[in-house]
Amino acid sequence: MMGTEQSLGVVFQIYQSLLVVLLAPLLTGWVNQCRAWLQNRSGPGLLQPYRALRKLFHKDAVIAYNASLLFRSTPYILFACMWLAAAIIPIIAVDLPFSPAADVIALVGVFALARVFISLAAMDIGTAFGSLGARREMLVSFLAEPALLMVFFTASMISHSTQLPRIVEALAHHQFILFPSLAFAGLAFVIVLLAENARIPVDNPSTHLELTMIHEAMILEYSARHLALVEWASSLKLFAYISIGIALFFPYGIADVGNWGALPVAIVALLAKLVLAGAALAFLEALLAKMRIFRAPEFLGTAFLLAVLGLLIHFLLGA
């Protein structure tokens, strides 16, 4: 027999998950639209990702002759991983029943699981592009992951917990203080976000130039519903990362424990923050130029450095 509190929690958990899945392509569309505006183009419109997904779902899938089960199952695993990650992150409310299932370290693990599968699937077919993309992805992510962990550790040190809901609660309810350590962690997180989501200084998601692509090289062999799932998973990943950023650095406005009445406000706040974050991301991408692949380690090394500095400054100043 469940109490009303619990059943309400479950309802809102389901609501958050559905909201995330449905909103993720819209966020991608918004980022692309902002980018188009900044480049003086009219842009494809906000709903373009949905149209692309619908088109892809209606096509017949073409699969390489020697593709194994791994290749066929990877899109589903990828999608499930990203959805799971988005369910763990407190996006509309702190106190959702699914959040305690995994802490931030497990969250990084979920992202790593998806990455391992997409890399293996890329190498599964045996095309040159696939393995090239997989290797580059591994190069980028093995540098980004420690930086991401350090960002999480900085936030954990401040809030004395590795559970995301506890971290968000602690940060949202602090009387407003300037946390120098969190500022450093925030900078590092932005770099990790750009690298992990194949955004511009590291990778360009809208190009098929063979010399520069990372993410696109890996998914080159996918078509129809598989490609749709992979694309959708990428949007979900971007959504999840931006939500983590919001949760860690701008958690104000999220619904508190047991305060379900604050949910409408929380959703409006979330939408406003997403709009701002998407525009900021597009602006950042318009400012930066794609860097050479061998500069990427230096770029991500900077992220690691910033995150470690944040941690050290927390130890020294206690803030």
Partner: protein, 220 residues
Amino acid sequence: MTISYSVQIINLLASILLLIAFAMLTQRRILSLINLFAWQGLVLSLSTFVVAYSTDQYHLYYSAGLTLLLKVLVLPWLLHRLMRKLNVRWDVETLINIPTTMLVGIALVIFSFNLAAPISQLSESITRGLIGIALASVLLSMLMMLTRRKAIPQVVGFLAMENGLFFAATSATHGMPLVVELGIALDVLVATFIFGIFFFHIRETFDSLDISHMEKLKDD
């Protein structure tokens, strides 16, 4: 929260100072290096101003103004002028590659935080944690001087080192007597002038600003 806003602002500025020290360490271009130096001066002047405001020490206002004038306007202008006259814009030569330098930098920060911990126990001031940050930025600037080959970045490193020292003096002990500060400020200014003259001599003699030429004193 018992910590007042001024302390929080000083802490934030201290972190920015450290960040700029790191940015200078990883910077490849001379032009951006000089701009970063100017930013560091601005942060320093702001923090001195906040210390002056929160402790009601009037002579610190003068030293904040002096810092602003000297380190944000005069010295960068001098360095820009030197750079134009010597016609050097690029500095790609570092002795150790940049990621390694960053790792060494992190080690230096940990070292100086540890070193400063017992010292700051002795201090009564609320901003005593900043001694570690000031020491770290001094050591990072020294590391920059060690890893650069050209003369101008080394001089910028020297000036940044002085910035770190100055920060330690104002934030941890609430400032030295004004006479001492004036003396140091003039010293730095004069040193930059002398360095400027030096650059021209180095270039005339060796046709380059690469100081490794100076290791060979004889033609062979």
